[in-house]
Symmetry: C2
Subunit: 478 residues, 2 copies
């Protein structure tokens, strides 16, 4: 009894201690960024404790809303002096637990840094603050004839997309963030500010010094806080054509994808949905698609070549026995299709109310795609799990949205087993454990399988060099 009592007292003492230090933290931070930019309410901290995944949330002690790079620099400097963790937060739309605060600390919300700083239409580039979302940017530039096409589905912040090396449906044509970020402003762990591609750099090519830009793309806030990004823009295509092709079986759809990619057709999107995913989309988005393994395709080009592209794709799909190949030429029909595709994550979760989705995210060489998608389906059956499949198959990247009851530890364990098995199969066939979601807290063990000890030690040496006190998003990636 006494032991229990003293444990309780100790817990209460620790809680009070943390509360007191949180209050002191908040007071100090208010003096740096102003009262309106610091929140300690449970509601705000809760909202900043998790992303959209099943990964358990951990609340930060304080949420700070930075308004400028200067704010970020001062906050990080302050946190460094107190050895307090700093966790950057964009829109919270990640899926590997990247924004949780397992050690508490300061959640640095960048959503108020939402200014488009410059548009250089002649050079096809722009510079934005980290909190600008991709939709906000596209709305801002709609009259220039340009677009920022990288589209991970969610309306994520561009800073977050840089930090996680996002990609999505358009990557097969326009590349991932790695290919589209030209320069970053980053606040380092000591509060100093760098530009990764030169103080004013906006050139299309450079071989000047180490490629810091691509070191900070995908570092998930563990090496620095991204405050500004210079991004490539692309011309809005003169013409867009979409098509839907259901197939008799999975292999047909995947093999048609492989053939289309190998033909060199510059397809803008080529998305695979298995029959369960199509069924979920029909229900959630009130569509009437045939319930069969299906490809959604989109072609971008000039009025003169777009039909030729569509025709080649149609011929290819037919040679792999697609059940039909239906063009969606009008804008509304096309928008409806892609909205349904983007809502696939929510559609999958709606299959079982109260459930959470766990999204796997492997990417393999395209020749291994058919084999591993079959493996993914067989494993679902073996473990008796529900998991619609959706994929950016043109890149060899796909997700299984495993539907899980977050209150059932046995089910969570099964999903975990499944995810590990699929990731290891991806590694076996020369793929990667994450094509676009990142490592976060969910895939740290798999990172070791992927890179081996020497590779991990190299990453650790870089982390140690740039963040020796481990205050930047601690507990993530490594």
């Amino acid at each position: 009894m006494n032991i229990i009592k003293s444990t309780k007292v100790l817990f209460l003492y620790k809680f009070m201690q943390r509360y007191a230090s949180s209050q002191a933290l908040a007071t100090d931070l208010k003096s740096i960024v102003g009262n309106d930019n610091v929140a300690t309410s449970t509601a705000v901290r809760e909202q900043h404790s998790h992303d959209e995944s099943y990964h358990p949330g951990h609340k930060p002690d304080v949420v700070v809303f930075a308004q400028s790079t200067d704010h970020v620099s001062k906050i990080v400097k302050y946190c460094a002096s107190k050895r307090v963790p700093v966790i950057p937060f964009g829109t919270g739309t990640g899926v590997e637990g990247g924004v949780t605060a397992p050690q508490g600390g300061v959640c640095l919300d960048l959503s108020r840094m939402d200014k488009v700083l410059s548009i250089n239409a002649e050079d096809f580039d722009c510079t934005v603050q980290a909190g600008v979302t991709r939709n906000a940017l596209n709305t801002y530039i709609r009259d220039t004839g340009l677009q920022f096409p990288i589209d991970p589905g969610a309306n994520a912040s561009l800073g977050g997309m840089c930090a996680t090396s996002a990609s999505g449906t358009m990557a097969v044509r326009y590349g991932t963030m790695r290919e589209n970020v030209m320069n970053l402003e980053v606040v380092l762990a000591d509060g100093s500010i760098i530009k990764t591609a030169g103080l004013k750099g906006r050139s299309r090519k450079t071989s000047s010094g180490y490629n810091l830009t691509n070191l900070f793309v995908g570092q998930e806030g563990t090496l620095g806080i991204i405050t500004e990004a210079t991004l490539k823009l692309h011309a809005i295509p003169e013409a867009v054509l979409a098509a839907v092709a259901p197939f008799k079986d999975l292999q047909g759809a995947v093999n048609a994808t492989v053939a289309i990619m190998q033909s060199g057709l510059p397809v803008a999107r080529i998305e695979f949905l298995d029959e369960n995913m199509v069924d979920a989309c029909n229900r959630f988005s009130k569509l009437n698609l045939d319930i069969a393994p299906t490809l959604f395709l989109e072609f971008h080009g000039s009025n003169s070549n777009i039909e030729a592209q569509g025709q080649i794709a149609e011929e290819t799909c037919k040679s792999y026995e697609c059940l039909q190949f239906a063009f969606a030429t009008d804008v509304d029909k096309r928008a409806e299709l892609w909205k349904a595709r983007h809502n696939a994550w929510y559609a999958a979760q709606a299959l079982k109310p109260g459930s959470k989705g766990y999204s796997t995210d492997v990417c393999v060489p395209i020749s291994a795609l058919s084999g591993i998608v079959t493996f993914a389906k067989d494993e679902l059956k073996r473990l008796n799990l529900l998991g619609p499949i959706v994929g950016h198959v043109g890149d060899g990247n796909f997700h299984v949205f495993v539907i899980v009851d977050p209150t059932n530890p046995k089910e969570i364990e099964l999903v975990h087993q499944y995810s590990m098995a699929l990731a290891k199969e991806a590694l076996r066939v020369s793929g990667t454990v994450t094509g676009e979601h990142g490592i976060g807290v969910g895939k740290k063990k798999l990172l070791i399988d992927e890179f081996g000890a020497a590779g991990i030690n190299t990453m650790k040496a870089i982390k140690q060099a740039l963040d020796p006190m481990n205050i930047l998003n601690p507990g993530k990636v490594l």
Copy 2:
């Protein structure tokens, strides 16, 4: 007199000491890699002391020819134990002095690691040892319908091209090495071996851990020795069309380029040669081109769309008052043109026998191109220097091949002034001090101008973390 004598004695003593330690070094290295793979002759060391530029050469103490990754690992481990510099050497075709050995040490020649390890035609990728040259790879794969198009002009080794982030004439369509390297095997400063994109990784996309691949692309041998590379391959286009368009003036040629790029035309090459360069090419390659600012263009595509591409380019050039627009359809004529373009470096040097070329290498946003090319020409005139201009203008990248008498210090000083002024102008207009040649020994000061103290310190922290004893290509980049 006595002072002179004792200086001479001291020099002789130091020379003897270095000679003795070189001999000991060679003996030890022979025991690691075998007698046939170690050279200490003056001729071989001289040949490995310099690249193709005017930068003064410094001989290594020993040249070692590695035959395997295991050799490289053992050599680096040995050198680390003795704190001896290791300078990787591919073909010696660089132009910023990257292979010189200012502190002596071991030149690690990778040319005997010349095996193509795998071709995955279905996945459009291959894995090669570092010493395979780009021509050797293209010859090896010629029956697959695939090509490795990145073409810096010289027949460089692919390991060297990775290390220096090479690009060249085809980058405007196919990207630079940064976009075409999928994975690297690298030997680190302690002899350990990593794979930068996973132990077996060949996926088109990944967001797994830090982007080590692009940290090692462009590090110029200062962070690790690249021993193998997995590279993207591209389909050989069904049809190729080339064209030559001389212009009335510089502005017309540059503005036509800008307009072509902004139209989104997927031009495969678009090269600018000023009138001096055309003159030099005519002499060197026995051509008969009009002596005027000229664009060389190339289009890749299907038989059906290639003429449409050419036509759009022709219309654009005519609207900028090109003097003519001549298509070169037959293979021989095309080969002759591009051979002449590739020999431009030698053609420029042949303008003044006994001279060396100093190639500047700035890259700017395309909207700034016309202004800076004019600046480059005006400065040449002001300093009374001879410098034909040639450029991968589609990327905003161009070179002035300043012709210099390497025995005339005053002229070298002038060239230096010129190069600095041009690089600073590039920075002023948001460009970079090197688009594709790298920093080497030639541009270390400019790197500081480009990145500022915080950026340089970040690079230094990474160097310190990965090569704490500074044995890898010391004195380069930073």
